[in-house]
């Protein structure tokens, strides 16, 4: 293993991991507050990707500027899904949350198939790479990473510092106590799902400048996000960030040393392995 290859693997992995962390933060946020596993998370990401595709290829917008559209749009979509569907299964057995979010997911995929056709699309934006000390930095990935880190930092700051963010964390920790303290948990759930969807949407916009997009791309990212969240511990914010980077690195090194097809399976293998060895995740607390 040459040091240059090692460095390349590290760089690729970390850049990828930043975007995974952003997407997974949204999933873990939703799970923490609602105790619902959002199977539609990857599909929300797909919607974000198509928002950028439409804005860039249809309206000639700068793909990065399209984030200002995809984030609020996905927030709104998330609020609607929460208000009319997910809110009704909060507190029900987990199967119901899985099923309704799956229902939402296939409705959105079907709509995307109707509007955008099943074709594989791409957003063309900055290509090429910078070389630094023998290590190549792909420009789109570098930008996606920078934006993902900024968005993740903003979301974390919001959760840690703002009143609303504190109320969200309080609700995730103990809903009853939150209610007693005067938190309007129903509103908190709306904001939490909206924010989670917005993070997925931003992730989708960033993924669209790196990879090809298609209406059924969501399930792949749903599972990757599951893997990240389980790695870090369901409901743990820092765990999601750590898990994202670990998955990014695992994929990049498997891609380098084993092959790209094997890299695709890494997320699932990691998911199953972590569940078996340490189901509470790296930073999660063991609970009954």
């Amino acid at each position: 293993m040459s040091p240059a290859l090692l460095a390349q693997g590290l760089v690729t992995g970390v850049l990828l991991g930043g975007v995974y962390a952003l997407v997974a933060l949204g999933l873990t946020l939703i799970f923490g507050v609602m105790r619902v596993i959002n199977v539609a998370h990857g599909t929300l990401l797909m919607v974000g990707a198509y928002v950028t595709f439409t804005a860039a290829n249809g309206l000639g917008m700068n793909p990065l500027a399209s984030l200002l559209v995809s984030a609020p749009l996905l927030f709104l979509l998330g609020v609607l899904v929460q208000r009319f569907v997910v809110e009704r299964v909060v507190g029900a057995p987990e199967l119901q949350g899985l099923l309704v979010t799956f229902g939402v997911s296939i409705i959105l995929i079907n709509l995307a198939l109707r509007v955008f056709k099943p074709d594989i699309r791409a957003v063309t934006y900055l290509s090429g790479s910078l070389t630094l000390g023998g290590v190549a930095f792909s420009v789109p990935r570098l930008i996606a990473f920078a934006v993902a880190v900024a968005a993740t930092a903003a979301a974390m700051l919001f959760l840690k510092r703002s009143r609303l963010g504190k109320a969200i964390r309080a609700t995730a920790q103990n809903q009853t106590v939150a209610v007693v303290c005067g938190v309007d948990v129903k509103r908190i759930r709306l904001v939490a799902f909206g924010l989670g969807a917005a993070l997925a949407g931003v992730g989708g916009s960033l993924i669209s400048i790196m990879y090809a997009i298609y209406p059924e791309m969501g399930s792949l990212y749903t599972l990757k996000a599951f893997c990240v969240v389980v790695l870090g511990g369901l409901g743990s914010y820092l765990g999601a960030l750590l898990g994202g980077v670990i998955l990014g690195l695992a994929e990049s090194f498997t891609g380098l040393y084993v092959g790209t097809q094997a890299a695709e399976a890494v997320a699932y293998l990691l998911l199953v392995a972590v569940l078996l060895v340490r189901p509470q995740g790296l930073l999660g607390e063991r609970r009954q």
Partner: protein, 309 residues
């Protein structure tokens, strides 16, 4: 009541048999086959997840492994159909035993996610292990039986699945499963070996999907990993069971019959939107009828037994 149920069962079976033996309409035969397939799949899912409460969100894994086992044995090793289908069931049972041992220690959402992950891993194995599975190219198969033959064969498998559910629901084994669903620690305290019971239910619920997978591969005449390990197959097993009523004998049967017909009708009428319409249906069922048809019937019956004050 018992005598009447037996008579009704015999009448329904005789009618289905007479229909299958005489009809020349291939469309009805294939719809009948597809209903039997889903009666078998949904009933099997119910044995595990309906009774124990452990949501298998990747039950298609057993269907797929059965399909691939049977297909490879028939295509590469020239097995005849009957032993190949049975081998499919055996392979699924083995898989259940191997993954059940570690996965069944997981609770609630963790078990559901692990099963989803396992079904996805198998899909990728199917795509990448080309020397055995032929990857994305898939495996072409000669149809082992006539359509009528498939109708009766799958009908028999469906009947077996309902029989297994009936046996489970009438024995102490089934009661113990229900006990551990309601309170696992409590069941353990009562002296039930919950791990052994969960594992037994899991293996039992895998055999029939494995057999059905092999039959279906031969019926379709071609398999490839993406459509074989399709999460939508799992979702249908779940939603059909929920529609009818989980942990009941008739529930999955009612769900499979009604929703298969609905699916066919939606698919024929709205080929481009049927997925979305099925999504709406799933959401509506969960939100408005979480206990299913049998749940509503049982609630009525209980209400009728209690004299009005």
């Amino acid at each position: 009541m018992k005598g009447r149920a037996a008579v009704a069962t015999i009448v329904v079976l005789a009618a289905l048999g007479a229909f299958g033996a005489t009809t020349e309409n291939t469309y009805y035969l294939s719809v009948g086959y597809s209903i039997f397939l889903y009666v078998a799949l949904a009933s099997s899912w119910n044995v595990m997840s309906g009774f124990t409460g452990y949501t298998s969100f990747g039950h298609v894994a057993f269907y797929g492994v059965g399909a691939y086992t049977a297909a490879i044995l028939m295509f590469d090793h020239f097995w005849s159909w009957a032993p190949a289908f049975l081998a499919g069931g055996l392979a699924a049972a083995l898989l259940a035993a191997v993954i059940g041992w570690p996965c069944l220690r997981l609770k609630g959402p963790y078990f559901a996610i692990s099963m989803l992950g396992i079904a996805e891993v198998l899909r990728i194995v199917g795509l990448t292990w080309e020397s055995v599975t032929y990857g994305g190219t898939g495996i072409p198969l000669l149809s082992a039986l006539s359509l009528r033959g498939f109708y009766f064969l799958m009908g028999g498998v469906a009947l077996a699945a309902v029989g297994v559910t009936l046996a489970v629901s009438r024995t102490r084994f089934g009661l113990r499963l229900l006990a551990l669903r309601e309170d696992e620690v409590g069941a353990e305290t009562m002296g039930i070996n919950t791990t052994a019971h969960k594992l037994a239910a899991f293996v039992l619920s895998a055999v029939i999907p494995g057999i059905a997978g092999g039959i279906d591969a031969s019926r379709v005449g071609f398999i490839e990993p993406i459509s074989t390990f399709n999460v939508f197959i799992t979702i249908q097993m779940i939603i059909m069971t929920m529609f009818g009523g989980r942990a009941t004998v008739l529930g999955p049967v009612i769900g499979a019959v009604v929703l298969s017909v609905v699916r066919e009708a939606l698919w024929a009428r709205y080929p481009y939107d049927y997925q979305a319409l099925f999504g709406v249906l799933i959401i509506a069922l969960v939100l408005f009828m979480p206990e299913g048809v049998m749940g509503v019937v049982q609630a009525r019956r209980r209400a009728a037994k209690v004299p009005a004050p």
